[in-house]
Every structure is written in structure tokens, then in C-alpha cells.
């Protein structure tokens, strides 16, 4: 239990540190790879909490997503090849306010609701995967489908906005 707690804390701090480095570099590629480091550390947190499927999934999805995000950022920003010296921050006051609000909301969410007693025995990984599948295809289906369609719509909308108007 102690080791588990220590590793959760370690990977949590690692995730925060990588999150900080996202804004401390001057290159989009380094920034995106730092974000990947942060997300992979969150995946490792899942693994430390014995949520094998979620951890492996998180580590896999983020590798692809963050690298593809890097190529899109390099394509659309004025940073040829990701080699330029670019400031990663903008609208500093608004960002600081949003960041602090987000952090406070996160802390409150962690502390205020009653999360129930800590589970002593975790179901096996295969059982977890099965239960997750039933949950996704059953009670939470509408939530996930809505989120999925919303992301798809956002992607199509972003692409259509980005394309120059043809005459």
C-alpha cells in the first residue's frame, strides 16, 4: 500500500513537472513532447492504481495524439519545422487566472465530494476490462457517443474554418 501511494505521488508530481515544462520551452515540438511526458505519467498513475487497461490505453493514445498534435501545430503556426524560437505563452493574465481557477476547482473536486471508503481488493485486470466494456456499452453509452460526435463535429468545423474561402 505504501509503495502504491508513493508511486502514485511520484508519477503525479512527474505529470505536473512535465506540464510545467510545456510552457518553459521555446519550441512547439519540445512543448508537445513534454505534454506527452505528462500524459504518459498520468497513464503510469493509472497503472500504479492497478487500473491496467486504462493505464495502457492512456499511454498508447497519448503517444499518437500528442505527436500528431505536434505536426498540426507545426503546420498551422509560424514555426517552420518546429525549429523556431517561439514563446509558448500568450494572454498571460487571462491564462494565469484560468489556470488558478482550474487548479482550485480540481482540488475542491478532490476534497469535497464523499468518495466512499477505499477499496481494499481490486478486481483482476480482465474483470476490469469486461466491466468497463459493459459500462461503456450500457449506462454511459449516450455520454460517450455524444462526446465522440462532438469531437468529430469540432474537427470538421475546425478544418472548414481553416480552409481559405474559394471564389
Amino acid at each position: 500500500m505504501t509503495w502504491q501511494l508513493l508511486s502514485v505521488a511520484f508519477f503525479g508530481l512527474l505529470a505536473i513537472w512535465f506540464g510545467v515544462t510545456v510552457f518553459r520551452t521555446s519550441s512547439m515540438v519540445r512543448s508537445a513532447l513534454s505534454l506527452l511526458g505528462s500524459m504518459a505519467a498520468v497513464g503510469a498513475m493509472f497503472l500504479a492504481m492497478q487500473a491496467e487497461f486504462l493505464g495502457v490505453l492512456q499511454i498508447m493514445m497519448m503517444a499518437t495524439e500528442m505527436t500528431i498534435m505536434a505536426i498540426f501545430m507545426v503546420m498551422y503556426m509560424m514555426d517552420p519545422g518546429g525549429l523556431g524560437q517561439m514563446d509558448m505563452t500568450h494572454q498571460k493574465r487571462v491564462s494565469v487566472a484560468a489556470g488558478v481557477t482550474g487548479a482550485l476547482a480540481g482540488i475542491l473536486l478532490a476534497l469535497l465530494p464523499g468518495w466512499g471508503p477505499i477499496v481494499r481488493s481490486v478486481p483482476g485486470p480482465a474483470r476490469q476490462t469486461h466491466d468497463l466494456g459493459i459500462e461503456l456499452m450500457n449506462r454511459s453509452m449516450i455520454v460517450f457517443e455524444t462526446a465522440g460526435v462532438a469531437i468529430l463535429v469540432a474537427m470538421i468545423a475546425a478544418t472548414s474554418v481553416a480552409i481559405a474561402r474559394r471564389r
Partner: protein, 297 residues
């Protein structure tokens, strides 16, 4: 099977694949070639780019090698002989292979040279074409096994190999596996067109690690093809690990040779074919496997 023998067998596999790679590219089968090439690379002068991103430059080759070896760790060599028997092994293979691409983009970008940079981004473009063709055939394999465990994937093929049960999935996965190891005809990102591409700025010991990582990838992906589609350790008379070894080397040899018979593909061709034909076919494969499963019941 004990863990030292597991490691020894894997190392032997690496050497054999390295010999085969030399044979496929030069046309001459020389058994000592990998050893001599390795010693030569280690002894050669190390030239580093003028202002690399030091952290990413040093991380990339190691990450590439680690990705290949980690994916291999969850694949069984024999009944009960798997380094880490994860309940989500099939997903973990994907997860580890995703970092091949991260490693190559890092290796391309970190030296700050034009050619390797273009090669790294090209590789990423290529990934968008084939990554779904890795995931979707594996999904169909997991459907038939009714499990995400790699051992269960082999056990599900006792009566009929997946090669016969889902030939479409096999063909797609085989091609996508070649693209993951950037073998010809998918080797534009590391080709001579770009002065060596991603590996172009690496010399000496670092280049040796990059080459070793490529060989490890070929071996791991061949092993994955064997485990997912060719019945893994299943086979008559001989012990299971011999079957796995023989099949894996045969798949690796096919991968290394077949690609050289066709011209190199540009990444936009790979993208067009991947999305227009590959993904619909992979969906058909999933539908087919689903229907056969329902039919069996």
C-alpha cells in the same frame, strides 16, 4: 522455459534477423556481417550535430530500442513462456509500438538538420496511414480470442489459424507491420533520398543502437504476426518454442525480401491507399469475424 533461455533465444533471433537483413540488401549471405558491422560502428569516430536538442537526441535511439523490446515482452514464445503475461497484452503491443513513432520524430527533429527533420515529419505522415491498420486487425484477433491476453490469442487458434479465419486481417497487419519497421517499400523516411533521413545525423555507437532497434522491431513485429495470425507455438512434433522461432524467422525473411521487389512508395500514396482501401477493408474484416463468431454460436 527459463528467463535466461528466453533472453538467449531472443538474442539469437536478433542476430539471425540482422544476417537476413544484410542478405536482403546486399544479396550475399554472410554470417559474420552483423558482428563486424557492430564492432566497426562502435570503433568509429562519433560526429554529433553542432547544436542538437541534447535530451531528445540521446533519448530517441534508446526509446526506439525500448519500444521494440517492450512489445516483445508480452508476446509468448511457448505455452506459458511469456516474460510478462498482461491481461491487456494485445493492447500493450499497440501501446509500445506507438513509441516507435515518437522515437523517430524525436530522432528526426533533435539534431536540427533539414533532411532528418523532413524525414521525421514524413514518417509521422506515414503513421497516419497505417496506424489504424495495426489496431483494427488486432481488434479482430481479440474478438476471436474473446480476450486481450496474447496467450489467449494463440489458444483461440488451436483448430484454425487466424491466417485462414481472417486472411484479410492478416494481409493488412502484415503490410502495416512492414510500415512500422520502416522496411521497403515504406522506407522513404530513412531512405537515401534524404541523405539517410532520420538516422542520417547519428554516427558511431548511437547509430549502432538505431540499427539494433530496427532489427529488434523487425523481430518483434514478425513475432506479433506469428502470435496473432500464424498460431504462435502451435505445431506438431517439435517443441513449441522451436515452432515460434522458425515461423518468426520465416515471417521476418518474407518481410525483408518482399518489399524490395516493389518500388518505394511516397507517403501521400501510402496515405491515400491506407485510408481509401485499407481502413474500409479492416472494417470488413471486423464485420466478417463478428459474423463468423455469431454463426459459430
Amino acid at each position: 522455459m527459463t528467463s535466461p533461455s528466453y533472453v538467449l533465444l531472443f538474442a539469437l533471433g536478433l542476430y539471425v534477423v540482422a544476417v537476413l537483413e544484410g542478405w536482403a540488401s546486399t544479396g550475399r549471405l554472410r554470417l559474420a556481417r552483423p558482428l563486424r558491422a557492430g564492432v566497426a560502428l562502435l570503433g568509429r569516430e562519433t560526429v554529433t550535430p553542432r547544436r542538437p536538442d541534447r535530451v531528445l537526441y540521446e533519448t530517441a535511439p534508446v526509446l526506439l530500442l525500448a519500444a521494440g523490446l517492450l512489445a516483445a515482452a508480452v508476446l509468448p514464445l511457448d505455452r506459458g513462456a511469456v516474460s510478462v503475461d498482461l491481461a491487456t497484452g494485445v493492447l500493450f503491443v499497440n501501446s509500445a509500438l506507438a513509441y516507435v513513432m515518437v522515437g523517430l520524430v524525436m530522432a528526426g527533429w533533435a539534431p536540427g538538420g533539414a533532411y532528418s527533420l523532413v524525414a521525421g515529419w514524413r514518417f509521422l505522415g506515414q503513421l497516419v496511414a497505417y496506424s489504424m491498420l495495426i489496431v483494427m486487425p488486432i481488434t479482430a484477433v481479440a474478438m476471436r480470442a474473446q480476450s486481450l491476453s496474447t496467450t489467449a490469442a494463440v489458444s483461440s487458434q488451436v483448430h484454425l489459424w487466424n491466417l485462414a479465419a481472417q486472411p484479410l486481417g492478416f494481409a493488412l497487419f502484415f503490410l502495416a507491420a512492414m510500415a512500422v519497421c520502416f522496411l521497403p517499400p515504406f522506407d522513404l523516411p530513412v531512405s537515401s533520398d534524404l541523405a539517410g533521413g532520420v538516422a542520417g545525423e547519428y554516427t558511431g555507437a548511437r547509430l549502432a543502437v538505431v540499427r539494433l532497434a530496427r532489427v529488434a522491431l523487425v523481430l518483434t513485429l514478425s513475432l506479433a504476426v506469428v502470435v496473432f495470425f500464424l498460431g504462435g507455438w502451435l505445431g506438431p512434433v517439435l517443441p513449441g518454442w522451436v515452432w515460434t522461432f522458425v515461423k518468426t524467422i520465416a515471417v521476418a525473411a518474407t518481410m525483408l525480401v518482399v518489399g524490395r521487389l516493389v518500388p518505394r512508395l511516397r507517403e501521400e500514396q501510402v496515405l491515400a491507399w491506407g485510408w481509401k482501401y485499407g481502413i474500409p477493408l479492416a472494417l470488413v474484416n471486423i464485420l466478417w469475424v463478428g459474423l463468423t463468431l455469431l454463426g459459430v454460436r
